[in-house]
Amino acid sequence: MGGVGEKGQAAITDAMYFLLIVSGLCVFLFVFSASYGENVSRQINREFNAEFTASALKTILYSSTARDTTQSLYEYGAEIDYLLAFVKEDYSDDEKFSDEILVVLADDINAVMSPYSSANDYLFTIVVSEDRKYAFTLIHLSIFTFTDERSAEVSVSDPAHIDYICSSNGVTDRKKDILKTNVGNTAASFSKILLAKEKPALRDYTTIEAETELVVWNPKQLPSEIFNVGDWDCDDLEDIRANLSSP
């Protein structure tokens, strides 16, 4: 009964318990350290996205443009004006943008967003504050489809991205909010600008407040209830450009 042999068995059991406890704690330590810093990394990326978007919007609004839209900003002798002034002038006569201005604006936005545009989608809008009329809407989308049910394989279209210009009839605050809610994490930047409306009888202009917004998100397949070309009344930017250059 009892005896020296039982002491060894107790020691091994103690050691086994010790091994079990240490293993458990080490698994916890391993899992914690493997995921250490991921939240901070994600936060840093979010900060960068927000800063990029804010800088992009400022750059777009500060930019100049050639008044002759067939010329470039770098051409010798081109007549240069601020893009916003050009836009304001075009809007003032009929309270809508001509196809020329649509293309100029879209090209400027796409040039500024170019380092980001291959891996991100974005939406740029100019809204008249008073009546919430979407005077300008550009949406840059990645076109891809999932080729299997588990969404593990993606087939990318050629071209991989399409730019749409949507008319004021098709875009509303509600549609935009639904889009922003359903595309996941977004980075957005917002600024007020001034447009003008002609008063021909008085040979004068009224200043109209408007808002510009740039929203950026990671590419996502958008079901038709979120975004639909027909519902938003959009045209392909390249089609608009082709119509401009055709006689």
Binding site: K7, A11, I12, Y36, I60, A111
Partner: protein, 206 residues
């Protein structure tokens, strides 16, 4: 007592219990080393990211550069850092046709190449007009790297760095370094024309 079966001794009986103990210690120290290495790696990565963010923020300002003096002033206020960095303004993505004029082989154009950075400079001709052909580091003879004052840096180049051009990162040397880069849109005023461009900041720790 010594004749009892299975009896080795007071210490000998405890020897088998050393095996799980040693296993436990090995597991603990391995995991601890991994955690320490991971912590060091992430801390270094965050420091690098914060340094680049700080440099970018100072150079970017309000995303509007009024000229080379404005850029130089911002560059001179950058804090001393143990990371090596190169920052500058490029129109590689906003005006590719004009950017390619400054390349010896336009077919090599790949947009912004952080391992072969080419920045805008502020060459103006005798009428104080910005010369598009002299724009991207070519002087009037068509040679690259206009450097009249002979200080090794391209005149009026929108470049800010704490290293010489010869020390800049290449694709081969980047394999030994943890490279962090950021690109931001920026508006650059040249001769009263405000052109959209990009601020590129590349940094690496030795």
């Amino acid at each position: 007592m010594l004749n009892r079966k299975g009896f080795i001794g007071p210490i000998g009986d405890d020897l088998p219990s050393l095996i799980p103990l040693i296993f436990a210690l090995i597991i603990f120290f391995s995991t601890f080393s991994f955690a320490l290495a991971r912590y060091g790696q992430m801390t270094s990565s965050f420091e690098n990211d914060l340094t680049v963010a700080n440099i970018s923020s100072i150079l970017r300002g309000d995303s509007f550069i009024t000229g080379p003096d404005d850029f130089s002033k911002k560059c001179s206020t950058l804090p001393v850092t143990k990371m090596k960095y190169v920052a500058g303004i490029t129109n590689a993505m906003t005006a590719p046709e004009y950017f390619k004029k400054g390349m010896s082989d336009p077919s090599d154009y790949r947009g912004i190449n952080v391992y072969d950075l080419k920045f805008v400079n502020n060459n103006v001709d005798e009428d104080d007009e910005l010369d598009p052909d002299g724009y991207n580091n070519r002087d009037d003879d068509g040679d690259e790297d206009k450097d009249d004052d002979g200080d090794g840096n391209i005149d009026s180049e929108y470049r800010c760095a704490n290293i010489e051009k010869s020390e800049e990162l290449t694709f081969e040397s980047s394999r030994n370094h943890n490279v962090v880069y950021r690109i931001y849109p920026i508006a650059l005023q040249q001769n009263k024309v405000v052109r959209p461009m990009h601020l590129v900041v590349v940094a690496w720790a030795e």
